[in-house]
């Protein structure tokens, strides 16, 4: 444990009367590669913008390595915004120069060699590159800051499956080299399943679930058994989502210890099942609110 990379406390952000994010409490341990999941409009971008200091919170606080992102630590954060915006008439070389002019810590060699490895032409305007290549340029720029925390807002959303896989691979490779903490938002579960070891589920401005992927998978089971009322499970199990037929119930439950009731068949859950269960549960009034930690 090397501390907390990102910490939010009762964080809220409002646009007009609508809260885009509210009561959000999170601790993202350093060294993790975290996925931020949720449907469109869940507040993923808002959370990332608050974390990188683009937005000012309306309530609560956000800390990056213990500091307010609006006052300090920008040098420690690498950010790739949605749709990987770049000056389209700049060449990659010019963008690297730009980063060097605007940052105190800037690894020109890192950026250049990454692009060279990927075979991305450095002397063409980036507007003329493919969107996959542009995303790679944006990633190289973010990495050249040598950030301790790398925030990526749906970096792969616009890419075709092949380019997406390649992008995530290079991301993983780079992070492995630098040891940075990563928070990556996406609504594509398959991407996150491949790369993340920490998961944050966001729905309508609230954190539904957060935790290390291994722990979450260990704590949850799909239980199939005789038809029963929700919540009536032994052993402190908490039903996240229940579906019933005439005879039997299928429950996705968070269990404190193994259930030794032979009436119930237990199956391991996939990350996707888990996320979908929590997102569906959030639509019901009994939904757990911000769980955090």
């Amino acid at each position: 444990m090397t501390g907390i990379a990102l910490e939010t406390g009762a964080l809220g952000k409002r646009y007009g009367r609508t809260w885009a994010l509210r009561g959000c409490t999170l601790h993202l341990p350093a060294g993790q590669i975290a996925g931020l999941v949720g449907p469109n409009g869940a507040g993923k971008s808002t959370l990332l913008h608050l974390a990188v200091g683009l937005l000012r919170p309306d309530e609560g606080k956000v800390r990056i390595f213990g500091q307010d992102p609006r006052t300090a630590v920008l040098t420690d954060i690498g950010f790739v915004a949605q749709e990987t915006p770049l000056y389209r008439d700049f060449t990659a070389t010019e963008l690297i120069t730009l980063g060097g002019k605007l940052n105190q810590r800037w690894d020109v060699e890192l950026a250049r060699s990454r692009l060279a490895q990927l075979g991305i032409p450095a002397d063409r305007p980036v507007g003329k590159l493919s969107s996959g290549q542009r995303a790679q340029v944006a990633l190289a720029l973010a990495l050249a800051k040598r950030p301790r925390l790398l925030l990526l807002d749906e970096p792969a959303a616009a890419l075709d499956p092949l380019a997406r896989r390649e992008f995530l691979q290079t991301l993983m490779g780079a992070v492995g080299d630098t040891g940075a903490t990563v928070l990556l938002s996406s609504h594509l579960m398959a991407d996150l399943e491949r790369v993340c070891d920490y998961l944050i589920v966001l729905q309508t401005g609230h954190v539904q679930l957060a935790g290390a992927v291994d722990d979450l998978l260990a704590e949850h089971r799909t239980l199939v058994g005789p038809r029963t009322a929700s919540g009536a499970l032994p052993g402190g199990a908490q039903v996240i989502r229940a579906s019933h037929t005439d005879r039997q119930s299928t429950l996705l439950a968070r269990i404190a210890r193994p259930i030794e009731n032979p009436a119930w068949a237990q199956h391991e859950v996939t990350l996707e099942d888990l996320v979908l269960a929590y997102l569906a549960a959030a639509d019901t009034p009994t939904a757990p609110t911000c769980m955090g930690k």
């Binding site: 913008h49 990188v52 200091g53 683009l54 937005l55 000012r56 920008l74 040098t75 954060i77 950010f79 915004a81 949605q82 749709e83 915006p85 770049l86 000056y87 389209r88 700049f90 010019e94 120069t97 730009l98 980063g99 002019k101 605007l102 940052n103 105190q104 810590r105 944006a138 720029l141 800051k145």
Partner: protein, 334 residues
């Protein structure tokens, strides 16, 4: 930061300089021709002798002035085109300056580097503003020189159009247009709407100030002179005449927008009557008791620089206000 601003706007700067050079290629030859005619026709010397006093008994320059006006009438319309140049600064430099960043999302790239958005905004504005100021100074000096003969032969430097393209006011207009464009960009966050807002806002403010505020910068003077006097109003003094007419002995304006010259020497451009019949005609028309006087309300020509200073300061103050509001709005944008 400076490198970034230059890299982003160098193409635009180059195009502007080329456009300005093309404009100079048109204005320099025509300006030289106008100045030459102005001197060679004797108009310059005549106006020197005439001076800028409001009353004169000399009428000789009027004919020369009209001849000059007839020859270069087209140039007056070219002068009107110059009025719109500061607006182009607002639309093509100001409006896209920040709006393009928001439209393409590149502000998220720039604001998450190691430079605060306030510093980014001030450096960007500082450099573009300096460039625009230099442009405006070149424009103001050039057009002041180019338009001088037309202003002298016509309605003077205080008249509409002439006032708007000479002196230091164009610098104020240009920086105001730039700041308005920037502010519109932070409100609309898209280039085209920001340009539209700049166009409408600039026209509105200029028209309001021109029609409502400018005539009130300083209290106008009034002057009246008997219609029988051989000293009459000097139409080439460069005074800015608000209104004129004939007043009767009670001081009531009885014939608006006309002056009578009964005692003027022959060859006058004005309608001439016998000195005695002139007044009695007006009495017979029931216009009140004699003696009648020609009357004007005006701003003297020598207030040109006072008016220019007031106008420029007003527009610079508006520019500063808009810039402050724009920077405040930047804090809300993510």
């Amino acid at each position: 930061m400076i490198w970034l601003t230059w890299r982003q706007h160098r193409k635009q700067a180059l195009v502007t300089v080329i456009a300005l050079a093309a404009l100079a290629a048109v204005t320099v030859p025509t300006g030289v021709a106008m100045h030459r005619t102005f001197t060679d026709s004797g108009l310059a010397a005549c106006l020197d002798k005439l001076g800028t006093s409001t009353l004169t008994s000399m009428d000789a320059c009027v004919t020369l002035g009209q001849k000059f006006d007839n020859q270069y009438q087209g140039m007056t319309y070219v002068g009107i085109l110059f009025v719109f140049l500061p607006l182009l600064v607002g639309m093509f430099f100001g409006a896209p300056l920040f709006a393009r960043e928001f439209e393409h999302g590149t502000h998220r790239l720039i604001w998450t580097q190691g430079v605060t958005r306030l510093r980014w905004a001030l450096v960007t504005f500082g450099l573009v503003g300096t460039f625009v100021t230099v442009l405006a100074v070149v424009y103001a000096l050039g057009v002041s020189w180019w338009f001088a003969p037309l202003a002298a032969a016509g309605g003077g430097r205080l008249s509409y159009t002439a006032f708007d393209i000479q002196g230091i006011a164009p610098i104020g207009y240009s920086l105001f247009a730039l700041a308005l464009g920037i502010f519109a960009g932070t409100v609309c966050r898209k280039v085209l709407p920001a340009m539209g807002v700049t166009l409408a806002g600039y026209a509105l403010v200029r028209i309001l100030i021109e029609t409502l505020a400018r005539p009130r910068y300083l209290a106008p003077r009034t002057l009246s002179v008997p219609i029988t006097s051989n000293q009459q109003f000097n139409t080439l003094s460069g005074d800015w005449i608000y209104s004129q007419g004939v007043i009767n002995a009670n001081g009531k304006l009885v014939v608006p927008n006309t002056t009578y010259t009964c005692g003027a020497p022959p060859g006058s451009a004005h309608a001439s009557h016998g000195a005695a019949s002139c007044g009695s005609n007006l009495v017979q028309q029931g216009l009140g008791p004699a003696p009648f006087k020609n009357w004007i309300q005006y701003q003297p020509a020598d207030r040109f620089w006072a008016f220019q200073t007031i106008e420029t300061v007003a527009f610079l103050a508006l520019a500063a206000l808009l810039l402050y509001l724009a920077v405040r709005r930047l804090r809300l944008i993510a």
